[in-house]
């Protein structure tokens, strides 16, 4: 299992143990956080799963992810689409904050 800390829009923080292979989007959803819309269900098509991610071992953004993130007014240097981060042991200790709604 990989431990991931999720911080919601109100600043509430929770650390969960997640299964490798799942995306961070699925992990946030399964942890019962209700703020992430993730409308396209992880197809890298919608940008409604925007988070700020801090941790070691993150793979770089793909071009599609980068372009989609540009649609957000809240984009930052650590912006990611949570459906595009697949959990692995290398991401142990990852911290993700759900970005504000666009």
């Amino acid at each position: 299992m990989v431990s991931v800390t999720i911080i919601d829009r109100a600043g509430r923080e929770e650390t969960v143990e997640a299964a490798p292979g799942l995306s961070v989007m699925e992990t946030i959803r399964q942890a019962g956080f209700d703020e992430l819309e993730a409308m396209c269900g992880g197809s890298c098509s919608c940008a409604t799963c925007h988070v700020y991610a801090q941790g070691e071992g993150l793979v770089p953004l793909s071009a599609d992810e980068d372009d989609l993130l540009d649609s957000s007014d809240h984009r930052r240097a650590d912006s990611r689409l949570s459906c595009q981060i697949r959990l692995s042991a290398a991401l142990e200790g990852l911290r993700v904050t759900i970005a504000p709604e666009d």
Binding site: L22, E26, R29, Q30, G32, D34, E35, E37, M39, C40, G41, S43, C44, S45, C46, A47, A63, D64, D67, L68, D70, S71
Partner: protein
């Protein structure tokens, strides 16, 4: 279970699909403290439908990964799920509904989010075994059972997104697919000829026997048994071990219409998703509304975006934050390695601009109406999609020559 004639449910949601689920989620998110219940015909807690013709069908995702929220979420948020039963009768004066098991429930507000049922083929043989729709998990599981069981030839009737997506997955699985479309091109209802031609060529290149302008006369098979083929009006017979029918949906609205709600193609709603009945809303695939992004034309929009955003709009209204529904329609479809993203509604366009190169499998079709950008279909062109949606929102009228020049970003053209 909620007992018959018990306490009224403050918000009773009919249908546990995308819209119903999101309405309940958004109510709690916005601090709604009253009682909330979802009555749903299917047996599963709310799940995502798009993967049924994509990752789930391709077995890239298990069903558990499609849940809109984990099953325990509903209990935690005190949202009652009454699954495996449906609302069969509505009494708007008494504010009561009757469920298929005879239970009576009283509501404060009713939210009709019942989606639609697959349109059935209006010809002989449509009830043979081996004839499938792709709308629910159960539909999809049946189909997957058949391909596991050795079905080698599938005929898909209908060249809309669902039919095309199913054809793509089946082809990848090594199934021989014939796709029959009655119109002269696929996607005729939702996209322009450039996009149709592109997808037709792609499917053919992947081995799909795609035929347009063909009329199905009847399905043939062993009476009372399995389908064996599709007879066309020109006399041809296409042999098939199974048939997928993807010819659109019929809105699931009969009980509400019987109760007096206005509507013909779905339930008519106003800008706040209110029906003509007091305290009854309708959202998602079954709601017919005057769409701001189609110059006020009355339509139903069948997409996750519309289901989610209308549901959120109603939930906010019930929490005292009523605002008219005005969200840019968008949609996606994945076939093979092609990512299609659409923004806006292309109905009524009088000009299209092709941007990028279909041969390079990365391009966009931009739809204009009297010079104004009203919609885009972007294939493997995420940047165009992201920047182009802003043009639709801004009702921009850029120079078509500039739109066609893919070295000029769409961003600068608003």
């Amino acid at each position: 279970m909620v007992a018959g004639g018990g306490d009224p449910v403050d918000v009773l949601i009919v249908g546990g699909g995308h819209a119903g689920a999101q309405c309940a989620i958004a109510l709690r998110q916005n601090g709604y403290a009253g009682s909330v219940a979802i009555v749903g015909r299917e047996h599963e807690p709310p799940y995502e439908r798009p993967p049924l013709s994509k990752e789930y069908f391709a077995r890239e995702k298990s069903f558990e990964r499609l849940y809109i929220r984990p099953p325990q979420f509903w209990e935690e948020k005190d949202i009652a799920l009454l699954l495996g039963c449906e609302v069969v009768k509505v009494d708007p004066a008494a504010k009561q509904v009757v469920l298929s098991d005879g239970t009576m429930m009283t509501y404060g507000t009713l939210v009709w989010a019942a989606g639609g049922d697959p349109r059935r083929l209006p010809c002989a043989g449509s009830d043979l075994a081996g004839v499938h729709a792709v709308r629910t998990r159960a539909d999809c599981d049946q189909l997957m059972g058949e391909t596991d069981g050795g079905v080698k030839r599938v005929t898909v009737i209908g060249g809309g997104y669902i039919g095309l997506e199913a054809a793509a997955v089946l082809t990848k699985m090594g199934v021989a697919v014939t796709l029959l479309e009655a119109a002269s091109r696929v996607l005729a209802r939702v996209a322009g000829p450039d996009l149709s031609a592109f997808y037709e060529a792609e499917h053919r290149a992947h081995g799909v026997d795609l035929r347009t302008g063909v009329a199905v006369e009847r399905l043939i098979g062993i009476p009372g048994g399995r389908v064996t083929g599709v007879a066309l009006q020109d006399g041809t017979v296409v042999a098939a071990d199974a048939v997928i029918v993807g010819i659109g949906i019929v809105p699931a609205v009969a009980p509400l219409i019987a109760a007096g709600a206005a509507g013909a193609n779905g339930i008519d709603v106003d800008a706040f998703c209110r029906t003509s009945l007091p305290d009854v809303y309708a959202v998602g695939d079954c709601a017919s509304f005057a769409c701001d992004f189609a110059d006020g034309a009355v339509m139903r929009v069948e997409s996750v975006q519309n289901a989610n955003d209308q549901a959120t709009c109603v939930a906010k209204a019930l929490c005292g934050e009523a605002r008219p529904y005005r969200a840019l329609p968008w949609f996606w479809s994945n076939q093979y390695d092609l990512k299609l993203q659409t923004a806006g509604i292309s109905v009524g366009y009088d000009q299209t601009v092709l941007r990028g190169d279909p041969a390079a499998r990365s391009f966009s079709v931009i739809y204009l109406k009297t010079g104004r950008v009203i919609a885009l279909d972007c294939v493997n062109a995420v940047k165009d999609y992201v920047q182009g949606r802003k043009l639709v929102e801004a009702q921009a009228c850029p120079d078509p020559g500039c739109l066609a020049n893919d070295r000029l970003p769409l961003k600068g053209l608003a």
